[in-house]
């Protein structure tokens, strides 16, 4: 049999054909509309004197504001650090084969997720009224020494403790979800190889669980940066409380709220970028090759542009 005529050798070689890219006028129009809207929004922000930008500038790096930002960062770090530490312990308890541990962990999560954070903070703040002394010693037996609650748990400790204990309940569920997302075959393989139990958890399971844990944990951290603002009820000088103090004094409410908003934006930006790189770290081995980071991509585009320009200069306009 002979081949159909249509498949006979093409008349031209592939090089002589030019590809004309498809045009997308709709995309250009949509882009232009969005750009105009964006320009209008920026214009409204800048030109309206009611926003009080000079005052914003004057207070953005005011020592008392910077101090408040640092305190906010400190509270967030304590809340997340202790919260996830305790949360991991709770998650492992919940996943353990000991029914009592699992039930206690479940009870903890139930309790601390059920009571509003602001209420929990007020309870911790008033702990000294509930228990005047805190004793250390044999359970239900004699105490070796005791201290006044007021000395041990001041307002700062109460705030950090309240945030961390509340956070732990959510962290426990996030960490547990991460462990559940790991293929059971991984544990089986680790067990079949005789790898010790603790090593199975921290070397085999946890790094794989991190892929699910990190995005959810990022949410929690960013949530807590802003969530620390509820401790203003304890009159602690975090960012939100501090700007309130200032605007009660100078009356520039909107400007001071803007100062706070800008700082929260900045902190969140730093955390979002950090999260991107942490995710990459735990993505090793998941994709065949890791995609380039935005910085790498930008560098590559610039290098390509530069090379093209150099070629054009050398070629003396020979290129079409």
């Amino acid at each position: 049999m002979t081949a159909p005529a249509a498949i006979e050798a093409p008349a031209e070689s592939a090089g002589s054909l030019t590809v004309v890219k498809a045009r997308h006028p709709g995309r250009w129009i949509a882009g232009a509309v969005v750009l105009v809207l964006l320009a209008m929004a920026v214009n409204a922000l800048i030109t309206n004197p009611a926003w009080d930008w000079p005052v914003v500038g004057a207070y953005l790096f005011h020592p008392s504001v910077v101090q408040a930002v640092l305190f906010t960062v400190e509270l967030t770090a304590l809340g997340i650090g202790l919260g996830f530490l305790l949360g991991t312990v709770l998650a492992l308890m919940r996943l353990s084969r000991v029914p009592l541990l699992a039930s206690v962990a479940w009870g903890y999560v139930w309790l601390f997720r059920s009571v509003p954070l602001i209420l929990q903070l007020l309870f911790w703040y008033n702990l000294a009224a509930l228990y005047k002394y805190i004793s250390f010693g044999v359970p239900f037996g004699p105490a070796f020494f005791s201290v006044e609650s007021m000395d041990l748990i001041g307002p700062v400790t109460a705030a950090a403790l309240g945030l961390a204990l509340h956070q732990a309940a959510y962290a426990a569920e996030i960490v547990r979800g991460g462990f559940l997302s790991v293929d059971p075959g991984q544990m089986e393989a680790a067990a079949a190889l005789g790898i010790p139990r603790a090593r199975q958890i921290f070397r085999i399971q946890l790094p794989q669980a991190m892929r699910t844990i990190v995005p959810a944990a990022g949410n929690e951290i960013i949530g807590l940066v802003k969530g620390t603002s509820v401790v203003y009820v304890m009159a602690l000088p975090e960012l939100f409380y501090q700007v309130q103090v200032i605007y009660n004094r100078n009356g520039r409410v909107i400007a001071m709220l803007l100062v706070a908003a800008i700082w929260y934006l900045l902190l969140t930006t730093v955390l979002s970028v950090a999260q991107y790189y942490v995710e990459r770290r735990f993505g090793r081995g998941q994709a065949r090759a890791l995609p380039p980071t935005p910085v790498q991509r930008l560098r590559r585009v610039l290098a390509a542009r530069l090379a093209a320009r150099r070629r054009a200069a050398e070629g003396g306009g020979e290129a079409r």
Binding site: D183, G185, Q186, E188, A189, A190, A191, A192, L193, G194, I195, P196, R197, R199, R203, I204, P207, Q208, F282, R284, G285, Q286, A287, R288
Partner: protein, 254 residues
């Protein structure tokens, strides 16, 4: 007659009302290759998994090189071992899974060295040299720094075999090692297993590869409905089966 390397005696196992193993006896001598065949649901994989105590058994016992698996014998009593001691016993029993179960976040070399380092506490330089040697043996010396997802299924399974061998086990168990592979990748894994068999490794293999069984097995075991129906050299079980059920099964797969 030498003492068996693996000795399975009167093993019963149920999942709730479902009886998966109903009194299985199996002896494997050192250096021998035993291939277990049978229809799905016949209990082949479960039997394999009882040998390294991935499955607990309800009745009977298993010994490997004279040591009770999962129990400590004192007089006429068997004391259940704690998890830590069971993990220690598993070091002597290599296991190759149908779905490889390589650790995806570790490189090929790290997959191979992990257990010798953490379970056996052997020195790192010695273990890494052994890993390179084993990867060479399975034809993957150039993939040591790759991650498992960058490899084909056949390559992953060969890494899994190297990982099992790195512990210097007394016996290696293979649970349908080629069932998850594309047909053109089956050969490379079987070649590695044949070389292993020739080197005198004690192996128990659950497989549907009848050709492999005929070529390599010293003993072929046919299982059905939780029992061993027939066992003997391949020339008997595969070519002159005595049982109707064996004949029916072979008629379907050959």
């Amino acid at each position: 007659m030498s003492a068996p390397m693996v000795d399975v005696r009167g093993v019963h196992k149920s999942y709730g009302p479902l009886k998966v193993l109903r009194g299985v006896d199996l002896q494997v001598r050192p250096g021998e290759v035993t291939v277990i065949i049978g229809p799905s649901g016949s209990g082949k994989s479960t039997l394999l998994r009882t040998i390294n105590h991935l499955e607990k058994i309800d009745r009977g016992y298993v010994t490997v090189d004279g040591e009770f698996i999962g129990y400590r014998r004192s007089g006429n009593r068997l004391y259940e071992l704690r998890e830590r001691d069971i993990l220690r016993q598993r070091v002597n029993i290599g296991f190759v899974f149908q779905h490889f179960n390589l650790f995806p976040h570790l490189t090929v070399r790290q997959n191979v060295t992990e257990a010798p380092l953490s379970a056996q506490g052997r020195p790192r330089d010695q273990v890494e040299a052994l890993a390179d040697e084993l990867l060479e043996q399975v034809g993957l010396a150039d993939k040591a720094d790759a991650y498992p997802r960058q490899l084909s299924g056949g390559q992953q399974q060969r890494v899994a075999i190297a990982r099992a061998l790195a512990l210097r086990p007394k016996v290696v168990l293979f649970d349908e090692p080629t069932s998850a592979l594309d047909p053109e990748l089956v050969g490379e894994v079987l070649e590695v297993m044949k070389a292993l068999a020739r080197s005198g490794t004690t192996m128990i293999v659950v497989t549907h590869e009848i050709g492999f069984a005929r070529e390599v097995a010293d003993t072929v075991v046919f299982m059905d409905a939780g029992r061993i129906i027939e066992h003997g050299p391949p020339s008997e079980v595969l070519d002159n089966p005595r049982h109707e059920r064996t004949r029916a099964f072979l008629g379907k797969v050959l």
